[in-house]
């Protein structure tokens, strides 16, 4: 497994918890400060190794006023960021706003993340833990969804792209096509993951909204690490 590089700055918000979660799972992390990266991309890209991962965490990059992720996607595409990562064989993981940056860059094909809708009515930003299905791994997962623009609309998927994560919760509906919560694509040596829910804040039992010290067991702790979506995908990829 390579190094975990995490983008930071320009309105990205979830960089610290993403780093903490990855470190807890035994990985080495490093921040890439966007203003510095954008003005001097070579300094960063030259350090990149095959098997490194680049994380684009959640937040409101460049204030996100014109459709989520658009402005950061524009800035990253100006330095051919994604092309160069893939050329180097690095992989990319976008969470929430990071996923929106990836779709705005058309990495998964003609896919949009639109304003949430519930029963055809617009729905506000919503923070709730939701049950998820990851059929690949035959697993149920539980992570918070915290977004206002996560309704996935697919016109055309890019080659080797598939949905790997689905909402499976009667209390949560954002109008996403086929209840899709995450997409994954393979390009050459690289894996590209995009997902709306936030796995980075569930690595320990006390983070669960149903936590009570009176009925927690040690097995939960292990299964949380074992079945973290981060580890599941890292393992899958290294096979």
């Amino acid at each position: 497994m390579g190094l975990m590089k995490i983008l930071r700055g320009e309105g990205i918000e979830c960089e610290n918890e993403t780093a903490r979660a990855l470190e807890l799972l035994g990985h080495q992390t490093e921040f890439w400060d966007l203003p510095k990266l954008l003005s001097n991309p070579e300094a960063y890209l030259n350090k990149l190794q095959k098997n490194d991962w680049i994380f684009i965490p959640g937040g409101f990059s460049f204030a996100d006023h014109f459709g989520s992720g658009r402005l950061l996607a524009f800035e990253l595409n100006n330095i051919q960021f994604f092309e160069r990562l893939i050329e180097k064989g690095a992989s990319i993981w976008g969470i929430c706003n990071g996923f929106q940056v990836l779709t705005s860059s058309s990495i998964f094909g003609n896919v949009q993340l639109e304003h949430n809708q519930k029963e055809d009515r617009p729905m506000n930003f919503h923070d709730r833990w939701v049950k998820l299905k990851a059929p690949h791994f035959n697993l149920s997962l539980y992570y918070p969804a915290r977004h206002g623009e996560g309704r996935i609309q697919i016109k055309e998927l890019a080659p080797q792209t598939e949905a790997f994560l689905f909402y499976d919760d009667e209390k949560f509906e954002n109008g996403s096509e086929k209840k899709i919560a995450g997409l994954m694509r393979k390009i050459n040596h690289s894996t590209i993951v995009g997902m709306m829910p936030h796995p980075e804040i569930y690595t320990r039992p006390e983070q669960n909204p149903d936590y009570s010290f009176s009925d927690i067991n040690k097995a939960t702790l292990n299964s949380l690490k074992e079945n973290s979506i981060f580890n599941l995908i890292f393992r899958m990829e290294s096979k």
């Binding site: 918000e13 003005s39 409101f60 014109f66 923070d127 709730r128 915290r146 009570s212």
Partner: protein, 898 residues
Amino acid sequence: MKIYVTKAESKTFAFISIKNEKDLDLDIQKIFQNSLLPLPQATTKFLVRSYLPGVSNPVAESLARVLKIPSKDIRVDLALELTQELSPKEAQEREALWKEPAIERLESKTFESYLLWLENLKIPQREDTSYLPTTPEAIGLEFSAEELFVLKNAEEKQGRQWNRAEWELFAQTWSEHCKHKIFNAEIKLTKEGTSTSSLFKNKLRNPALKIADERKDLYLSLFHDNAGVLRIFTPDQKASSWGIAAKMETHNSPSAISPYGGASTGIVGVHRDILGTGLGALPIANWDVLCFEEPQHSESRPEKALAPEIIRKGVLRGIQDGGNQSGIPTVQGSTIFDPSYAVKPLVFAGSLGICPTDFVNKKAKSGDKLFVIGGATGADGLRGAVMSSRDIRSEDFGGSIVQVANPYTQRCLTDFLIEARNKGLLTAVTDNGAGGLASSVGEMSTLTGGATIDLSHLRLKFEGLLAWEKLLSESQERMTLATHDPEGLIQLLKEWRIEYDQLGELNTSGRFVVLHEKGNVKEKLVDVSLEILHESCPQLKLSSHWTFEDEKKAYLKEKLLPQKYDLEKALSNPQALSREAISRRFDHEVQGRTLRKPFAGFTQEAPQDGSLLEVMEASAYIALGHGLAPREKDFYMSVLLSFDEALKKYLLATGQLQYAGLLDNYSWPDPLQNDQSLWKLSTSGDLIEAITEISEIPFVSGKDSMKNNDSKNRILETLVISVFGSAKGPEHMPVGFITQKGSKIYTWKPVADSVINKTHSSASALELSKDIIQKLLRRYEIIEKWIQEKKLISAKDTSTLCPMKSLFEMCLGRKKGIHFSKENSYEELCTQSSTLGGFHLVFSQNFDFQKEVPPEFQNEIVEMGHTTSTFEVKFSNRTLSLESLRNAYFKGSEQLWA
């Protein structure tokens, strides 16, 4: 000028106009891709929603940043296509729901006339009278006779008249908003024969300092910086090298006339208080208290007041954007409804921040260079400090005092500031809020005893800003810094792409001097001694004829018998409804610290008291609680209940008494205009002093807003008490819901239900209050002990509506129920009862009641029954499904808040 049209929110368009020589066509194409639309026909009609000239527009600012052009070159307006003329009623509805009052205008225009309007959009050129000697009356400023006497005297002494800029500076520095003249006033209760020379000094600060002096390891900074700071202790009681800062602000006047702008700048502004504490603390959590008029219009409301739903929606959206877009979780809040808040809604915005203890104090030295960084300076936000003390709906209350926040710009500042601090580049930092540079540099100059700044080349959002406006502009998202290494600072600013102005330097001249170019010659715009500016404002002298007897009479007149409720009906009242729909709109988990969620259980429906946050940096936890009880008519009880609610929340989130600090936040109707309000203010001081001395928990920061009234209406006197400090952590935390069947559930009965009714004088009421505080403290210590020993599985503060409500809420988390013992009846549990010191408790299996509960409390802690696995409550004479209560509790909430 180039114009582009894109899709915006549903059915609306954004008109983007750019005046810059660069050809940006390709960039615009790349950004907007297929959402870029062809220009409309010249005759197509639109309803155009545009920012007033001179007000900054955050939407345009972020686009300008990626296009790398100045933000003044770009404008973004929203437009709704009109297929037919709007009827007057439709127009009114749009106006109410779409436009942000005071900062935007809404006009119907053809596309052609819109373009024409754009071409001619200019800030009018004005003559700069900043240097001209003048009088306050001539420029619409108010000073008291005593204040004028001092300032005129100073004029005579120096042989020179104050100019416009200097009068503006005095008005701002000596405003109630900045100087807290009422809190510092001499207050006499004439008929009671008592007086105090200063509430702030005698009742708040001195008792606090006495305690802090004995615990210097814990209380790191109180009452002198932008926030109070405590040291963080680990759960095993080790001192960490981190501090926790806390501050709560009010933003009532701006929210009354521009709810979204007012609330969003309130939130983002209190973050700047945290950022401006010591050498910079990082905000980690928000909490808010909102006081609104009831959803139905009140009978008595100011003629020009905005409709309650406009205020509610705007304020909520402001808090949502202010918190979410800053990446700071909103973890706790309260909403209070009362007709009195028609005159002004109250928006209290609190924030916690963390800071290494090495950076808790400012270290500025003479010769340090001054910078202002972040947004450019604009015409937005002038005289906010002066005006917030006046009738906000009067004719002279210009729209320019309100702004909208740009959390993104501030987030970029934060990233930079923390790195600059850690690299040792900063010697002082403070925020630019009310009063702008006049206030930030004016205050910073007291660190060394003088400052000289030059505003000639300040970056401006709008050309044509007058010299005095540059000094006083309250443009948001700016911080003022001092550094001993300007080159190092500039290099880092450039790396982070943060814009800046070099202002001047700190010195020991004893003067605050502002230079400005006039023609091509630098002249002194302001030259004022710090002694006059900061130490010569005369003390106010206030007196009230109101007495304890008057208060008791007023109380007895309004006193109601305890209400018996039809709970299902009562739950659908706005005051009783679930706040879940609000909480879900706020990201309460960003940063990954929030270990006690606002709503918990597998259903995520059980409300939890207090907040628990992880501070991984210090391997420790922070607990937070707040309370208020403005609707309680017994004023003594009202203050005690605020304290009790805050402390209960804090304790249940595993907060420890020995590490706690308090905050006081007052929103009051003008005590100068009302004797009862002044009596209450004075009495609250006695109670605050008693709380500090008995609990040995000092107040470490606070804020007061004193003009929440107009000539006819005044708000309820509203005191918010908050408490924060180091906590034991999740492994000790009782949850706010029933976890399993077969456990006994207890209620700890209230300590008291009245003070004023049981006493005959101010002195005896204060004595009884002290007695009650002592009893409360004894309870808190026991609860804390049980939590430390992990004896409490579930616990909850009893509800102000009735005990049945809080018991019902405990059933929500895991859809459990309660089988009540035969002594309890549903009707009795649906009757209002005091909550002072009241708890519902479920102990661990091995808890031995007889052994563990001290004998004197065994009769106060009453067994209610036992928990069951079905979502219902059972009494000897009936069984009730909880589904219908649940429906009532959530149904109206979506409508009201979502």
